[in-house]
Amino acid sequence: MTGVEMVMGVLLGLVGLLGVVALITLFITKLNAQKVNEIKNIYLCKMVNTDSSIQDAIRYIKLTNGVNVKEKGENE
């Protein structure tokens, strides 16, 4: 085996090794990414409500915090 053939052989071997490693990395990354996407965000809870009914509250509704018509009229 000549020196050139040996160098060629080493280079081919390296390329092949890199290719195999790349394929394995791609496969594992995709597999894990799918698993991450499937993980649900379980530490956030949706909210509950124990407040009054709006039908009870509406009895007390009145206009407040509004534009003061009288005050604006006096200012103009």
Binding site: K46, S52, I54, I61, K62, T64, G73
Partner: protein, 193 residues
């Protein structure tokens, strides 16, 4: 008694006693300067229903059929501020009016709703005496308290709040939960005053 939610009958009361009345007030203050968008009453209702359902679907547990007071009020506020029901049709004294009237209308409606709910909750509270109930309810007589000029280092609180609504809506970043949180804090300020 089971209720349908969102509740249309309640909206009719809110429309008559708050929204419609406040719009009339603005039209009185700025005589002949304001026009309304067509079908405003139904537009607000439909937008509110959409926001209400979005809230329930995305933020609340499946068992929840109605929202708490602050989210209800926030949905109404966002519906009104987004639709912008009032338009200025002319200048006053040759100048544009630097007033976010739709946003301030939204704030008025939101605070009126929170106040009504707060009073209802006080009335229903079986853990406090009638004297304490009367004392608490008195704090809401004049509406929800907002920080006064001593506590606000630039402009008026309501004007700043109106600006916030305008810009967050314009930028597409308004959120029911944030507005509800602000309303909650204003209710707490009123209770603790």
């Amino acid at each position: 008694m089971s209720e349908m939610h969102p509740d249309r009958a309640s909206y009719e009361v809110i429309w008559d006693k708050v929204i419609s009345e406040e719009i009339s007030n603005y039209q009185t203050v700025y005589t002949n300067c304001i026009e309304l968008i067509p079908n405003i009453k139904e537009e607000i209702w439909e937008k509110y229903v959409s926001l209400n359902n979005h809230c329930k679907s995305n933020y609340m547990r499946a068992s929840v059929v109605r929202l708490d007071r602050h989210k209800v009020a926030a949905c109404y506020m966002i519906a009104i501020a987004t639709l912008r029901p009032m338009r200025f049709t002319k200048k006053i004294d040759g100048r544009d009016i630097p007033l976010a009237i739709n946003e301030t209308l939204a704030i008025t409606v939101g605070l009126s709703i929170v106040r009504a709910f707060a009073i209802a909750a006080i009335q229903e509270n079986g853990d406090i005496t009638q004297e304490d109930k009367d004392s608490l309810m008195k704090k809401f007589d004049d509406g929800i308290r907002v920080p006064d000029s001593v506590l606000v280092n630039h402009g008026a609180y309501i004007d700043n709040y109106a600006n916030e609504l305008f810009f967050t809506i314009s930028e597409g970043s308004i959120n029911v939960l944030s507005i509800a949180h602000e309303l909650y804090l204003l209710e707490v300020i009123t209770k603790m005053s």
